[in-house]
Each structure stands twice: as structure tokens, then as C-alpha cells.
């Protein structure tokens, strides 16, 4: 394969083709009830090392998770947090990708929602009227 030549056309794939930049990054993520969870701050791809070409015949890299939390800072300003610090929304939990990314699970079970839960339980729920339904 000539490294400077045009890329060979990609093999036909089943299903939809998603452009990570266009369809995933910076999209709003909603949970199964339609409640906003976060925005897709970054994505995690398995089987891909930055700057290292993929050897022919290796299994195709796969998208494993949407990332959120401090990873937004490192995406903008550079660097990478240790893998243990990444807050992941597993790709298998994603139900649909449209103008929003819809999850098939509820936000309450996700690590991505822990700050929201903390603020809710420690601050907002303790202010009188915090559970009042405005409608």
C-alpha cells in the first residue's frame, strides 16, 4: 500500500455511517426519560494509538464510550487524564443518534450524573420548596 497515495475506499458497512466530529462530539445526551444528562465532551476509541498506524489485518478500532467531565478541559487545552479518571457513558447504552444522543438507560444510574445528584442532595433539596412542582 502506498502511504502517500489516496486512501483505498472503505469496505461497505451495514447500518448508518456516523461522523464522530459531526454527529457525536458536543451533542446533547438525553437519558431514557428525555432528561438531559450531559454533552458528549469526547469519545473513547479502543484499539487505536495516537500517531501509530494501524497494521493491516488488525481488528477495526471500535468506539467504546462517550466521555464527559474533566475531559472537556483536556480536549480544549490538550493533555489526557489517566484512564481511571474518565467518566464514561458506554456506547452499548446509546439507543439512538439524531440531533441528540438518546440513551436507553436512566440518568440516575450513570456516573456521568454524579455532580448533578450531589448538588441536588446536598444543596437544592435542602432549600425549602426545592421539591415543589412549578406546574
Amino acid at each position: 500500500m502506498n502511504p502517500d497515495g489516496p486512501l483505498s475506499p472503505h469496505p461497505p458497512v451495514a447500518g448508518r455511517v456516523l461522523d464522530a466530529q459531526l454527529h457525536l462530539l458536543d451533542r446533547q445526551v438525553l437519558d431514557a426519560d428525555g432528561v438531559p444528562v450531559t454533552t458528549a465532551d469526547d469519545i473513547e476509541i479502543d484499539g487505536l494509538e495516537a500517531g501509530v498506524p494501524i497494521p493491516p489485518g488488525a481488528p477495526a478500532p471500535s468506539l467504546t464510550a462517550l466521555l464527559t467531565g474533566p475531559v472537556l478541559g483536556t480536549r480544549i487545552f490538550g493533555g489526557r487524564p489517566p484512564s481511571s479518571r474518565l467518566i464514561r457513558i458506554l456506547w452499548k447504552d446509546v439507543a439512538d443518534v439524531g440531533i441528540v444522543i438518546s440513551l436507553g438507560v436512566r440518568g440516575g444510574s450513570l456516573d456521568a450524573d454524579w455532580v448533578e445528584r450531589w448538588v441536588r442532595d446536598k444543596i437544592i433539596a435542602r432549600i425549602p420548596g426545592g421539591r415543589h412542582d412549578p406546574r
Binding site: 438531559p36 450531559t38 448533578e116 448538588v119 441536588r120 444543596i123 437544592i124 420548596g129 412549578p134
Partner: protein
Amino acid sequence: MKKLLGLALGVLTAIGGFVDIGDLVTNAVVGSRFGLSLVWVVLVGVVGICLFANMSGRVAAASGRATFEVIRERLGARAGLANLGASFFINLMTVTAELGGIALALQLASSVQYLLWIPVAVVAVWIVIWRVRFAIMENVAGLLGLCLVVFAVALFLLKPDWANLAGQALAPAVPGSETGAGYWYYAVALFGAAMTPYEVFFFSSGAVEEGWSVKDLGQARSNVLVGFPLGGLLSVSIAACAAVVLLPAGVAVTSLSQVVLPVAEGGGKLALAFVIVGILAATFGAALETTLSSGYTLAQFFGWSWGKFRRPVQAARFHLSMILCLVVGVGVLATGVDPVLVTEYSVVFSAIALPLTYLPVLIVANDPQYMGHHVNKRPVNVLAMIYLVIILAASVAAIPLMIITGAGS
């Protein structure tokens, strides 16, 4: 019948909600220094805000996405964050100015020093945001804001030289006592006051709050297209009152009491009472809108759960961020900084930030994935492109003009 009532209510709310402390102060300052020679700017600004508020409402109704979600998606994380920083900072400045405006209006009514009213103002604003339904909040403030019509009434009672006023408005010229740079500085400020970005954040998020669908677009459009121009007329009558009374007397407006002076002179005590209620309602309504807008922009950028239609516990970070914004606003006012001065700076900074908000809205309004067949029609796009040029020019010119004129002094 019910539909007609809804329409009337929407229009009246839009009129009352159009004017905020920025419009009040800037129009009075301009009227007292430049007469009606800058009325054309209000006209340009009103057409612009109609155009883009309508567009952002349409995006929200067709796609369910509010403006700042769209901004981040289209600009990406980096430019989106820079945009958030600028928009949020200006919004916070406007929150501060509106809170100060409430306190100043209460001072006018009570003669109690405004600093003592600030805690009252901020607690009242927070309770409404915490507790009151979105529709009630919007309608009450908007309807009471209609009391500002008394500026137009006072103008008639003052029996001005109409030919002279019309001459100033139709053949704009820089008054002899002012410089050209000062004239253009206030042109930019007026434009910024009419097109403040928070109106678009609030309008599009409000569309989501009230669950608009494509069916509601017609009513939304008439609210904007009738209400905002009538609101613009209120702005012009504020400037005209100042031009009739304060300009000949050589008084350049630096405080809220000078803004209402012509009304008191034209209409007496009763008119003064109305105008104070009107200013109170307008600044209170705008304080609600700007505080909510701070929460909306942050929540939409980071993807948090937001909205007054949810219980506060279901939008915890959204409510916490608004509480913090109000605390910061009070902190700034507690330094004793003049709220009128904060207002004057906030409208100019708004003008600087205009392209950041309006460009992404225009891009998404043309994206069929979001809009389906509700994408912009060609005439709308042509007009919007013309406005982008004006907006860019105002944005680029704002800082140099600010430096040359020493912020208009």
C-alpha cells in the same frame, strides 16, 4: 376568542418585556445629548431583534434545541467555550445592572437609599425564579411593564414642537456640542441595547419551557413582529421625552431620576407613579430574564438538566448556578458602583458579543437536519446576511470608539 386573547396577551407581554434598564438609560442619555438624531438606530435594532428572535424561536420549536446547545454543537467545544465566557460575563453584567435598576426604582418610590433595597430586590427575584410558573412570571412582568406607555403620554402632554422633533429624526445630524465619535459610540450602544443577546437566549429557551411545537410558530411570530416594534416605539418615546425637556436644559442623563424627570414635568404625580411602577416591572422582568439566561447558557453548554418547568431538584445545577449569579451581582453592587454606569458598559459589551450569538443561530436555521422544511426562506437569509455585516461592524467598532470617546464622556 381564546386564541385572540392569547394573541393579545402575547403581544402586550412582548411590548412590556422589550424595554429593560439598558434601553431606559441608553435612550434617555441619547435623547438628552443627541435629541432624536439616533432614532434610526432603534429602528435598525428592532428589525434585527425581530429577525433573530423569530429565527431562534423557530429553531427551538422545530428541533426542541435552545440557542446555546446549538452554539456549542456548531462552534465546537473550544470556540463554544470562548463564546460562553463572553456571553456569560455580559449576562452577569446585565443581571447586576437590572438588580441595580430595581433598587433605583424602589429608591425613586421611597427615597430610601438604593443600596438598602438591593437585598430586597435580589430575594424577590430569586423567589420568583425558584417558585413561580414560567407563564405567570412572564405575563405579570410584561403587563405591568406596559405602564411605561406613560412616556408616550407624557410626550403628548409636554406639547413639543413636533416639526422640530421630526426634523431631528428624519435628517439625523450630530449636534454641535457633540463629536462624531461620540455620536457613533452611542449608536453602537443603542444597537447593543436593542439587540442584547440575552433576549435570544431567553426567547429560545422560553419556547422550550412552554413546549412550543411547529403549530405555535404563527403566534410566536405575531408576538415578536407586533410586540417588539411597539416596544421600540416606547424606547423612542423615552428618547423623545429626554430630547424635549433635558436637551434644551443642557442636562445629560446620569441617573434614573433624570430619566423620569420629563414624565413628572409632563404628567405630574400620577404619571410619575405610573412610570415608577413601569420601571420597576421592566427591570424586575429583565432581572428574571437575565438571571434565567445565565442558567440557560451554562446548562445548555454543559448539557445539564434545565428549565423552570422542572422541579428545582430535577435541575439542581441550573438552579445553583442562578443563585450564584445573583450572589455575584449583589456583591458587585455592594461595592457601591453606580448601576447606571454598569448599564452603560453592559450595552456596549453586548454590542461586542453580538456576532457570537447570531451567527450560529443563522447557520442552524438553515440546517435541514434540525429544521426539516422549516429552514430559512431566501428573503430571510438575505436580510440576515445584511444584519450580520451591521452586527460585525458594530462589534468591531465598539472598543475603538470606547477608547476614543472615553466611554462616551
